[in-house]
Chain length 123, copies 2
């Protein structure tokens, strides 16, 4: 059985991006939560259209996955949980998890040392 909500995860220099296939769903149909400050939880339900609404419908072929889905992902520690954004468009949910900017790395420093000119303070 195909996963009801397949997910791609991309890492960029400044963020992680979660891309979820949720055809037929809109912003209000999906729930994005952070659990325990470490877990990204994505949930919702894909309903088969007209389920139970019309007895006159006969399904000749059924391939599209349907039903409730829930996906969880461990987030790394260097992300900014307060700046996560999520939006649905054209049946794709995109969640942007920004990384915490890291300080400039220490660069190796080079000194010129004048051989023979250093006073070692011999007393």
């Amino acid at each position: 059985m195909a996963t009801t909500a397949p997910v791609d995860v991309k890492e960029l220099s400044g963020s992680f991006i979660f891309v979820v296939d949720v055809p037929g769903l809109r912003n209000t149909d999906v729930k994005v939560q952070i659990e325990n400050d470490t877990i990204l939880k994505i949930s919702g339900e894909r309903k088969r259209d007209l389920d139970g609404q019309d007895m006159d419908i006969k399904y000749v072929r059924v391939e599209r996955p349907a039903g409730k889905f829930m996906r969880k992902f461990n987030l790394p520690s260097h992300v900014n949980l307060d700046s996560i954004s999520a939006a649905c468009q054209d049946g794709i949910l995109t969640i942007v998890v920004p990384k915490v900017p890291t300080p400039e790395p220490h660069r190796p420093r080079t000194f010129d040392v004048q051989v023979g000119s250093v006073l070692l303070g011999n007393t």
Copy 2:
């Protein structure tokens, strides 16, 4: 590998409805054709966003199907090929294939026959 474009087919009293998951695609991204007056052909391509556009992207997880897809379905003879409609919304392509209205079925008819009153024209 999951089907790139899973399809449900529903039969209603007056039409067949094809429902295709095409997250990320819009009307101009899919092609619906009728071949030889009998085959419904649905094709398109699902591209992985930003493919090849940014070398700074690293895919950490890849579950979403991508690539070209093509599906073909034999249509029954009693459909109206000139009235087929198709539209994408929220990543779902819906194709409506109306049936040709069938004439009212012959109902069994009942006559009252007056026994003994019919002249058989004996000459």
